[in-house]
Amino acid sequence: MFQRSVVIAAILIMLSGLFIFPTAGEEKVIAIRAGKVHTVTGGIVEDGIILIKEGKFLAVGKGIDIPEGATVIDVPQGVVIPGLIDTHSHLGLGPSGGITEDNEMTSPATPGLRIIDSLHPRGLMPHQDSYLDAISEGVTTVIARPGSGNVIGGLSALIKLSGETVDEMVLRFPQDMKMAMGARGGLPGYPATRMGTAWTVRKAMNEAQEYADQWEEYRKEKEKNKDANPPKVDLDKEALLKVMKGELPVHIHCSPTVDILTALRLGEEFHFKKLSLGHATGAYKVADELAKQGVAVAVGPQMMVFDEEREELVNLADFLLRAGVKVSIITDADVVQQEFLRYQAAIAIKYGMDPEEALKAITIYPAQFVGAADRLGSIEEGKDADLVIFDGDPFDTMTQVLKVFINGKLVYEKKDES
């Protein structure tokens, strides 16, 4: 009964779609006229115009001709920036420390797990609307990652925060392999020490190598003997094989300098392609090394690090950028809630980071970080039309988000209060 009515409803919806959009051919152009446009890569345009067509930026600049029939959105006081990107999030995976969907803590190495199989496209209790809340503060793209409970957590995904299903949201999967350094202190079946953690990675990588060798042998054998028995497919090792071949980047959670150095060592040993670090509060002590090796750091949720020797606060994102390290600013949602990303950047600015750099650290730098700078991170012709319109300085606490677009579609609009 229920099922039948669902089917009927579905058919009706589909039919009505046909009537509402009879000429689904060319989409209308959207023109946004705003007081200030931070293109991020092409400077600031005062009284700028942004044209959007079929989900992409068609043009941006001053005094651009608005095509006839375009939908015009006028926000004379509006400040526009590209949609914000967070390279380290656990959004929609349940509360950290609570009932969580991101830590499969039944074994310390679970490289075969796919985060998209845990993602809920709206968010889980107790924060069911976490996606909507994130969008309402201008966050449009995140890397959803397995947690750091496991040494090898599994495969991360790059997702846009709009879509009815996870599959609609995914921009790239797998994005990278998530690992985590540090001591785990005696959990049954888990390494207790830092050395144990490193060993877990080493062991898994060596086993993956053995597995690769078995397949290589099989291929050779097969040339001679058509009936040769293939080795068993192992999903965990297949995933690590991608890492080994350099097809999949690696992202490692680490905090103190000791863990950062271990991460670098493992990266060198196993030729991790595009190694990046998360949190890395001790990174400022080895910033030159990170810059030299081209290792990017996702800074957050802790923005300021207390240096005990000098008894002062280190502005981690700012420090690393000045040292030539690639940086993106993160929330580690929901250690800090996803919607507070712009305030994470504001804290870095408060303690001396250049506001333009801070804006880059939540837009174009993360776009480069995730290898999608051709589509994301700035307001440029041809890129995805992901943008946020504020009623003032995007970093000011009092500033409100007026509108948010993802792929050229309005996904959030501030309601008039009163």
Partner: protein
């Protein structure tokens, strides 16, 4: 211009330190401030604050400055009272060690004192001072139904006795998910909300009996010198003081049902109480306001949301305050946006959510001092109060404003260093 100014500040401070060194505690410090947010008597433009022996001895406009006073030129800056974090466990948690804010071997531990776990050298404490926070209520966590005795401490000093402003500052009680999770997992009372409420009620009833035994003894003693003294019970002593109204109950509760349970217990035992957490407070604002119970809240859930804080809204502080509740703002997380060091940001969020600016400023200064029972010493810039001051580069609620200097008891405890 600014650089020049801070350079001259440094020179003045160098001289100041020299001078203080020479003449011990005799010196008067005069702060010439562009703007003084006194909190209790408005804003003074181009004012002067005179400090002697760790106290504010005068504040006003065009005050005569004693000839030998050390002058601190903050004429481009804003001065406000040291901020107060009204509910935190910093200093109880050491890195690389299990947290020691919850003695989870027994759900009722009113006998415990946080000062026995507080580390004056905790780097968390130092970091918080950098943000202009000068005093905190250090309290047991939220896992025990009765957690122990909090203390109000200044965030400077090498021994507990140097730090303490008020101890015990009350009794910490916790309802809702915390105790349920901690003891339910062990299949021990309380595994339910009614279990927690029962334990509070039972403990207070025991304390009432205990108190009466002592009262009777005191009565008997007058006529009978041989009267038998009741046994001193360290667990019931602080609870008896709660019943006598000599201590405040800090009751952590988030959901409306827990808030109402707290209010019921407050009514039943006529407690002097403060509600902590209160995420759903705005839904029962009138009930709280009617009883004149103050609240300590965080205006937004920065950190991981729990089941009991799932409905948290940025409008909570404003709605409670407009309903007539005395609202104190604290920070409920520890990282990034939620760092305790960024307390003014939490207050700014309250303003964004509809709280009056002046009220939000009071919520991290004088109102906090009042509900912690130390308003005679701190919370405003007034003659006779402790010289706990923060010199800021501008509006305390603006994200670009930096803390330039922090004073506790008239001494500089933080000074901004030049950029890298």
């Amino acid at each position: 211009m600014k650089k020049k100014l801070s350079l001259s500040l440094i020179v003045v401070f160098a001289l100041a330190l020299l001078w203080v060194g020479v003449s011990a505690e005799q010196g008067v410090i005069a702060i010439k401030a562009g703007k003084i947010l006194t909190i209790t008597s408005g804003i003074i433009e181009d004012g002067i604050i005179l400090i002697e022996k760790g106290k504010i001895i005068e504040v006003g406009k065009e005050l005569p400055i004693p000839p030998q006073a050390i002058i601190i030129d903050a004429s481009e800056y804003t001065v406000m009272p040291g901020m107060i974090e009204a509910h935190t466990t910093i200093g109880l948690r050491e890195r690389f060690e299990p947290p020691s804010a919850d003695e989870t071997t027994d759900p009722c531990t009113p006998q415990l004192k946080v000062i026995d776990a507080l580390n004056p050298f905790s780097r968390d404490i130092k970091e918080v001072v950098f943000g202009g926070i000068t005093t905190a209520l250090i309290t047991p966590g939220r896992l025990n139904v009765i957690g122990g005795q909090p203390a109000v401490v200044k965030l400077t000093g090498t021994t507990i006795s140097q730090m303490v402003l008020l101890e015990p500052a009350g009794v910490k009680i916790s309802l809702g998910e915390g105790p349920k999770q901690a003891y339910g997992a062990k299949r021990k009372l309380p595994s339910t909300r009614m279990g927690s409420a029962y334990l509070v009620r039972k403990s207070l009833t025991d304390a009432d009996y205990y108190l009466n035994q002592w009262k009777e003894y005191e009565k008997k003693k007058a006529s009978d010198k041989e009267a038998k003294k009741p046994k001193l019970d360290l667990k019931l002593e602080p609870l008896a003081k709660l019943l006598e109204g000599k201590l405040t109950a800090f009751i952590e509760c988030y959901r409306t049902d827990d808030i109402m349970t707290a209010l019921r217990i407050i009514d039943e035992f006529k407690l002097k109480a403060v509600l902590v957490g209160c995420a759903d407070g705005h839904k029962v604002a009138d009930e709280i306001a009617r009883r004149k119970i103050p609240v300590i809240i965080s205006p937004m859930g920065v950190g991981p949301r729990r089941i009991e804080t799932k409905d948290i809204t940025i409008r909570n502080a404003g709605l409670l305050s407009q309903a007539g509740v005395k609202v104190v703002i604290h920070s409920d997380a520890s990282l990034g946006v939620g760092a305790i060091r960024e307390l003014p940001l939490a207050a700014a969020f309250a303003v964004k959510g509809g709280m009056d600016r002046e009220e939000a400023l009071k919520a991290i200064t004088i109102h906090a001092a009042e509900i912690l029972g130390v308003a005679d010493r701190i919370g405003s810039i007034e003659k006779g109060k402790d010289a706990d001051l923060v010199i800021l580069s501008g509006d305390p609620f603006h994200y670009l404003t930096r803390v330039e200097q922090v004073f506790i008891n008239g001494e500089i405890v933080f000074e901004k260093k030049e950029q890298n």
